[in-house]
């Protein structure tokens, strides 16, 4: 199913570029060939078979139907873990937001002129960002034992990397002339930041904060699977018992919660930005 589709695009691809010189055309074809080759290679390596998938659609749907109807009575025991999940997300987002402020100021070259300092902080930030949430959660669980404390730490570090990067990039694009003016009145560095930087970045900052909170609510699902608290743990258990109808009920509950949180956060965001 995917196959004919792909070939069509590649054909059209050469048509678009037919107005371009031969060399460009050749390069494009090569890149395309590599992309496709890797694709089929990865399909093979992962035993993916789309044809079989579409052939066995009835089996697939049959399995999905096993999840229905969701076992609504189970929702009651999922409420507490859900609350825990949201609380973890709130607390972790708060810590991340607080820590990211000095972090992003120190890694923005509009504020810190010393190349060594901002490069150091930028590198720390990038290192943090390479760690997927699951890895952080596992590390902290192995250091602090099972419980929500390592979960909070993991999400804090996870969102800190992202938040600090977003914020420092914003700080790097502010209008430095406004800072110059504050500096020329004799303001010290804190006053320059408070009067010059904060008004310029506050709307984006709030928006990023909300975004990271949303992200943390989703990411906290992962925590439960490694014993770091939240709703993931009951999903894990029910999956292992193959109680798919219970799993489905929890998933629906979670999805509803995510939708509500995102709607609220979008409303707030529109207010401030």
């Amino acid at each position: 199913m995917k196959l004919p589709n792909k070939n069509k695009t590649s054909e059209n691809e050469s048509k678009i570029y037919s107005v371009y010189p031969k060399k460009v055309k050749f390069q494009i074809s090569i890149i395309f060939a590599i992309v496709l080759f890797w694709y089929f290679y990865s399909l093979r390596a992962t035993d993916a078979d789309f044809l079989e998938l579409f052939g066995d659609l009835d089996v697939v749907f049959g399995k999905l139907i096993e999840m229905f109807p969701p076992d609504w009575s189970y929702i009651e025991s999922a409420i507490d873990p859900l609350i825990e999940t949201i609380q973890i997300a709130v607390v972790a987002s708060t810590f991340a937001i607080l820590i990211c402020i000095p972090m992003s100021l120190l890694s923005a070259n509009t504020i810190v002129k010393n190349k060594f300092i901002y490069q150091t902080f930028r590198n720390i930030m990038n290192l943090l960002r390479t760690m997927p949430d699951i890895l952080l959660a596992t590390i902290f669980v192995s250091l602090f034992g099972v419980g929500i404390f390592p979960g909070i730490l993991a999400l804090t570090v996870f969102s800190l990397g992202l938040l600090a990067k977003l914020l420092s990039e914003t700080i790097e694009t502010i209008d430095t002339r406004q800072l110059e003016a504050i500096r020329s009145t004799g303001g010290n560095i804190i006053q320059v930041i408070w009067y010059g930087v904060v008004p310029q970045v506050l709307p984006s900052f709030i928006s990023y904060g909300l975004y990271v909170f949303e992200l943390n609510v989703r990411a906290s699902l992962v925590l439960g699977f490694v014993g770091a608290g939240g709703i993931g743990s009951i999903i894990d258990t029910q999956l292992n018992f193959m109680q798919y109808q219970k799993v489905m009920a929890v998933l629906v509950l979670l999805l509803v919660a995510v939708i509500i949180i995102e709607t609220l956060s979008n409303m707030l965001r529109r207010r401030v930005v």
Binding site: F61, P132, L221
Partner: protein, 267 residues
């Protein structure tokens, strides 16, 4: 003189104040609720054992088990394949949806809003939920992971594509229409050349995200290194966990580096 000086009153001050107070109150309640809940649930006894635990775990994390390299590397490769295949599915799938959700491509506003909503709906699905659904329906394995990544990534890519399409220069399109070109010709001669570099750049960016996302899939049996991470930690095999950490960090860094280099050249 100084004492009876007042600044002129601020216009509509009360409304703003009421709004700010309400927001502050709501935030205070949320924070109180979250922090008190969390503090109650944290088992503070870990503090006592912390020193001992750190001493046990940290040195072993820094002594990676290189002899397991092949096993770890194979799984990381599988993770990359999942991310790659998934991103490609998403990158292709997102093209028609991007056009559907772009304001300047769809004449009917209702139809257009519907496209936007569809992409929003897709983005709300946490990937683990989808992964669970796929693992149950197509069976555990990397294929389920690839489908998951494909379906979660395409919501974000579709939105980004739509924004790119909305920002193109419509004059070229008009000129082509004036020439009597048909819709398909306009698509390939006027629109694609303008948007393709950005499409590719966003797809690469999403690939960086998907590499990280694919590590999680193993938790529910959808392939990749995630399963090994959990097993390793459960077995307290800290040397192997150390190796996994290093490998993931290095691989992610390399991929980020290459991808950002390519993206800079594209745009």
């Amino acid at each position: 003189m100084a004492n009876d000086f007042r600044l002129p009153p601020k216009p509509n001050r009360t409304r703003k104040r009421v709004r700010n107070i309400i927001i502050a109150l709501v935030l205070a309640v949320i924070y109180f609720w979250a922090f008190s809940g969390v503090i109650k649930k944290i088992d503070w006894s870990f503090f006592g054992e912390m020193g001992e635990k750190f001493g046990k775990v940290i040195p072993r994390l820094f002594d990676p088990a290189w002899e397991e390299f092949e096993k770890v590397f194979d799984l990381i490769l599988e993770t990359i394949f999942i991310a790659y295949g998934g991103t490609l599915i998403a990158a292709v799938l997102a093209v028609p949806f991007g056009f559907w959700a772009a304001r300047n491509m769809v004449k009917s506003p209702i139809w257009n809003t519907l496209g936007k909503w569809f992409l929003i709906l897709d983005r709300t699905f946490p990937e683990l939920i989808l992964a669970i659904l796929f693992v149950i329906s197509v069976g555990p394995g990397a294929f389920a992971g690839m489908l998951t990544i494909g379906l979660t990534a395409f919501g974000m890519l579709g939105k980004l594509y739509a924004e790119v399409i909305e920002s193109i220069d419509m004059k070229v399109v008009e000129a082509m229409e004036a020439n009597g070109a048909n819709k398909i010709q306009i698509l390939f001669y006027a629109i694609f050349p303008q948007v393709l570099p950005e499409f590719l750049s966003f797809a690469l960016y999403r690939f960086e995200i998907d590499i990280r996302a694919s590590t999680v899939l193993g938790l529910v049996g959808a392939g990749g290194i995630g399963t090994l991470i959990v097993i390793t930690a459960a077995n307290r095999n800290w040397e192997q966990l150390g190796l996994i950490i290093i490998s993931i960090v290095v691989v992610v860094m390399i991929i980020d580096f290459i991808s950002s280099k390519i993206r800079k050249r594209l745009v």
